[in-house]
Amino acid sequence: MVARPGRAAPSGSGADTHCPYCALQCGMSLTPAPPEVPDGGASPRVVVAPREFPTNKGGLCQKGWTSASLLGASDRLTVPLVRDRAVDAAGAVTRGELRPATWDEALGRVVRGITAIQAESGRDAVAVFGGGGLTNEKAYALGKLARTVLRTANIDYNGRFCMASAAAGANRAFGADRGLPFPLADLAGADAVLLLGSNLAETMPPAVQHLAGVRERAGLVVVDPRRTATAALTGAGEAGGAAGAPSQGLHLQPVPGTDLVVLLALLHVVWAEGLADEEYLAARVSGVDDVRRAVAAWWPERAETVCGISADELRRVARLLAAASPARGGRGAYVLTGRGVEQSTQGTATVTAAIDLALALGLPGRTGSGYGAITGQGNGQGGREHGQKADQLPGYRTIGDPAARAHVAGVWGVDPASLPGPGRPAVELLRSLGTPRGPRALLVHGSNVLVSAPNATYVAERLDALDLLVVCDLVPSETALRADVVLPVTQWAEEEGTMTSLEGRVIRRRRAVTPPVGVRSELWVFAELARRLGSTVPFPLDPAEVFDELARASAGGVADYSGLSHARLDADEAAGGPGLFWPVPAVSPAGGEAHPGTPRLFLDRFRTPDGRARMVAVDHVGPSDDVRPDAPVYLVTGRVLQHYQSGAQTRRVPELDRSVPGPSVEMHPILGFRLGIQDGDPVRLTSARGEVRAPARWSDKIRPDTVFMPFHWSGAGSVNRITTDATDPVSGMPEFKVCAVAVAPDPASEVIA
């Protein structure tokens, strides 16, 4: 595929852009479909072709290849919908069906609702829920809308479900949170990569290319309770072994919820065997002694009795990582975490232990080594930098910091005192909806909480208790279908903007097609709401202009974009430049050259006040909902390659839907035998919160004490109906990844079938 960098084509004639889904943001080119291509019903509008880009190196997975289908989704929303409510004499509310409406009517309804509710119950009675898929411009404008027009403290976003623990851990340790503080391609040179709770071979397949080098050197270590496609990359655990394929690493298959113990044991071995990089620790790290003492209690044999990984295996991994560390002459080592370990009530602690391990080995802040969190959502990185998080202002600033408030208020032209304080984090926010002191109205952007939030049945109850639910979406998602007002908005290939990839690289999303008639950009919706609510705060409509404002608002912040503009990003790409990673301050370091961006953070110092990374001692508590005699099986949740997040997009792509049409319960045959469940049998999983049903899928790739379900579907097989909404005390992130269930055959389904 010939690379055509930086082709910002005029609207309607195609463009070089990026995939609409995950944070890898694979480069792709969209060109108008040749007329000779037969129209398969859903009108084909553009052709997807992969494009050379450092994260995907020309590769695309099935989701990317088929992404153009989204543009022709048969149930695409193109007209606003409104639901009427009737109140009878007794005060009982009857909710009608959603019906088409004009933009004027729909927005009028929203504005009247907001005005009335805020007048009665205060500004915080209107809440906002954003998403990690929104462009930087939209995320920024949404935060600005909440803080300057609605003036509500209650704004948070679905990134709280994904990145909050990694962010909390990295901020505490390094003073900055950029998922990967180094380019992804750096992994290629390492001797060891420890991957905890990430199934990137399934969630972002082209990324696997960056592991080729470490696999050749047998240095890939994957920690996962399942032998996932990613774990299989280690070559470990494949039966027979007769093929004689050389090992490419190790797979540790711990008891769900005990990854932290694995890390504590690795730390223990590092110190017990004298493998720590003491020189680096002395020069660049504080808090070392606390951590050294804390892990003295986690010798490998004790860890084994908790996490189920044999002591010698733990020692082997610690030695492998140490041998790869620069202090011991290795090419470098990386410790990477994903949602598998972060979506836990001890997620921040686990991330902290992963960082502690990386620090003990002297990895962060060194070229060719480091710690990173693998961001999931398309703009999961940028989405957490520009002010849609409950406690944040643009530039990754803290909303409680007076200087930050003054700076941002200056850019917005408002009084700093008028900005609200920190609001409730996502799970707490959702729980509080429609409660006596909680919000009465909710605006949802780029999120489908009915499928993606934990304890989803309860979330549905909360949404129904609202007086006004407004959802902006492309398709009638499960959440949209429950709304009072649905606003049809533009998507991906219909809009301009920027995204920030998992590496902190700021990239351009470009428009390739004209949006359907009737569909508006959320930027327009925000401006319109502001105007109708009587605000004088300006809300530009041009994404480039919004970006310029965002850049000013971020100036001096941790995530400083002030040296960037759409024009500079386009020029860099057109010139085949190396890409621009934040921070990119407007003020150049020396001379007249523009700041080149920061591909690798922390090389000289960490972003903490004293420049040293902070080790923090943590301990293992265990899952909030642990196995017990009436729920003796662990449930872990995750993803499949063919679907993205709540599936609102990918379930509408016929090819993906055909490949994986619905959920299943992955279970070991040994568990199946015990429960009398054959492969394909209908199964019922019951947790303390409810039950779900799906067919069993036998697999020997999972522990016999654990079942796995992907979460991309709604209805009876929607696993988030039974996941727990217990949250991490530091990050507020829910424990999606582990809870206790009873597993039983589901004869009821059999009868129906």
Binding site: A296, T305, V306, K701, A726, P729
Partner: protein
């Protein structure tokens, strides 16, 4: 009103004492919370060291752990003061004061965590000299100083004898062997670790010990320690004299461990003793709870300080004992897991007392912790079984199939439902080269129970033995030698009370993973085998693309998208193309090229 602080004196600054101080301070919360009395904690430790991980002393001896890695957290909380090198001399229960040589520490509650001492066998040569010192060359292993002395001695010693083949004895033996010493372990029981290992498991362990170059002598008694020189300066141990232990069956005959030993594979040891020379002698003969303080304070002491379920002495509710010095109703296991569990429980109980002291009447009593399992059985049946049955019964009391949470739970860990106590009786040997784990019902001397079903896989020649005991659908005991991952899996099953498989034989081995279809043989690869996972392309899809005219990997990629994701299937697709070329060379090529367009254009 300022409340007088609630004073807790902890005697012992070891693994359990130091942990308890931290647990109590954590669970009590900062002063002033819940209208509780302020808390003051005093820790008295007789060693001058900071608290350290005693469990790892054998690792230090083995050279597998750096001494610096043993130091445990020491509380920095300003509500606590820690006195090191402060030996408690007496508890004056009248004045509620603990006395040291230079101080008196008043208490509202005193917690004994004095641990245990090494047992020194009563044999000639080990008579305590002046000041209770052992002869030169003889060491117990109970303190950091002991470990350092053994390490120092091992650099000059060539032959070591370890008396006692229990957990510590074997760890030390393996550790010294790792340092290159010729090691003999002598043991009174019929097989090593016989408290945890039955005869077959012992045989497997003996085999591995022999492979490590360690001589094991079982069924023997140390008649004397040979000491040359006399007096407190010159007494040096040079070996031991063994005699058959008439009280036990000399089952070791023919055991692999006897191979190449001190010249006595046969149990012919009558009459003359058998002298084993040694320049380093380590005593690993068990421990004796340190209960002197309690005894002199007039409290009931049996093997250890007797305490009830609330970990308080039956004679004085303000005196508690935890860890190795305590004798709880279920018996002490000598394992730190039990001590840490007691620490957590006692911290919770005392924290309750803190708030009860001020707010008994008006505040609703905090939800009591889950009913403590009653552990009264002298025969020590498996802890897991008892807990499982107990919890099972309590769940059965509730209407409906499963208890439901109707409200979302608060996030604070303390608000979580207290988890039922996990079993703490898992014994995991730490010895380089010898993997042993035993739990619950195990050991040579366990009583027969007709409700137990025992399955064994015994493979002594490979040093492997796996034994599981199942009752009521649960794993109630297991013994694993030489199968570390199976041991780890069984431990997880045991401690979490996971129901066992329909056929418990599945517990004996790791399930065999399904063989992946070998890519080198496309003929036998089923059509539905996924070739390219990134794009969901099967072998059938590749073959179909060939039939429709694709002739190269690039053609196949264009037609099916195989290889266009992570590229990991490149070799397989090349292989399929080669195979198709040889087996299917004459397929007609369709004229239309449009079918080679990627399916994505269907958008």
């Amino acid at each position: 009103m300022r409340l007088r602080p609630f004073r807790v004196v902890v005697v012992g600054n070891g693994m359990v004492g130091s942990r308890f101080a931290a647990d109590l301070l954590a669970v009590a919360g900062p002063d002033g919370t819940h209208r509780a009395r302020p808390l003051r904690v005093t820790v008295l430790g007789d060693e001058v060291h900071e608290p350290y991980n005693r469990v790892l002393l054998s690792e230090v001896v083995a050279g597998r752990a750096d001494v610096g890695a043993l130091t445990l957290p020491s509380t920095g909380d300003e509500r606590a003061e820690v006195h090191r090198g402060a030996t408690a001399i007496a508890i004056d229960r009248g004045s509620r004061t603990v006395l040291t040589s230079d101080g008196a520490f008043p208490y509202d509650a005193v917690v004994l965590a004095t641990g245990s001492a090494a047992r020194v066998p009563d044999v000639p040569g080990l008579d305590p000299g002046p000041g209770g010192t052992l002869p030169a060359g003889v060491h117990a292993l109970r303190s950091l100083d002991d470990a350092r002395e053994i390490v120092a001695a091992s650099t000059h010693a060539r032959r070591a004898v370890v008396i006692g083949a229990g957990v510590l004895g074997l760890e030390v033996a393996c550790g010294l062997a790792r340092r290159g010493l010729a090691v003999t372990v002598v043991h009174g029981g019929a097989s090593p670790m016989d408290r945890q290992l039955g005869p077959d498991a012992g045989l497997a362990a003996s085999r591995t010990l022999a492979d490590l170059g360690i001589t094991v002598r079982t069924g023997v008694r140390t008649r004397e320690v040979v000491v040359h020189g006399v007096g407190d300066r010159g007494a040096v141990a040079t070996g031991i004299v063994l005699v058959p232990d008439v009280g036990r069956s000399p089952r070791d005959a023919g055991a692999p461990g006897a191979r190449g030993g001190g010249g006595s594979g046969a149990p012919d040891l009558t009459g003359e003793g058998d002298e084993i020379p040694a320049d380093l002698l380590v005593l690993a003969c068990g421990t004796v709870p340190e209960a002197t303080l309690a005894r002199t304070a007039g409290l009931t002491v049996d093997r250890g300080v007797v305490v009830g379920h609330g970990l308080a002495s039956p004679d004085d509710p303000d005196v508690h004992a935890i860890g190795d010095c305590a004798q709880p109703p279920e018996g002490g296991t000598g394992l730190v897991a039990q001590g840490w569990d007691q620490s957590r429980r006692l911290a919770a109980l005392l924290a309750e007392r803190l708030s009860d002291a001020t707010s008994h009447a008006d505040a609703p009593a905090p939800a009591r912790a889950a009913r403590r399992v009653r552990l009264t059985d002298d025969a020590r049946p498996s802890m897991a079984l008892r807990i499982a049955l107990d919890v099972g019964r309590s769940a059965g009391d509730l209407p409906g199939p499963a208890p439901r949470e109707t409200r979302p739970r608060a996030t604070a860990p303390t608000d979580r439902p207290p988890p039922p106590a996990a079993p703490t009786d898992v014994v995991r040997l730490k010895a380089a080269g010898l993997d042993v784990v035993a739990m619950g019902v195990c050991g040579a001397r366990r009583a027969h129970d007709p409700s137990h079903r025992t399955l064994r896989l015994t493979d002594p020649d490979a040093g492997r033995h796996v034994e599981v005991v199942v009752a009521g659908g649960y794993l109630v005991g297991a013994t694993v030698v030489g199968a570390p991952q199976v041991g780890a899996d069984l431990t997880a099953t045991y401690t979490r009370r996971i129901p066992v498989p329909a056929d418990p034989a599945h517990l004996l081995l790791r399930p065999v993973a399904q063989a992946a279809a070998p890519a080198s043989d496309p003929t036998h690869m089923p059509d539905r085998t996924t070739v390219c996972r990134c794009n969901g392309v099967t072998k059938g899809d590749v073959v179909a693309s060939w039939r429709e005219g694709a002739r190269s990997t690039a053609d196949i990629a264009r037609a099916t998208r195989a290889t266009t994701g992570c590229g990991g299937c490149q070799d397989v697709v090349c292989g399929l193309a080669d195979w198709l070329r040889t087996t299917d060379p004459e397929q007609p090529v369709p004229a239309s090229s449009s079918v080679l367009e990627p399916a994505s254009v269907q958008g």
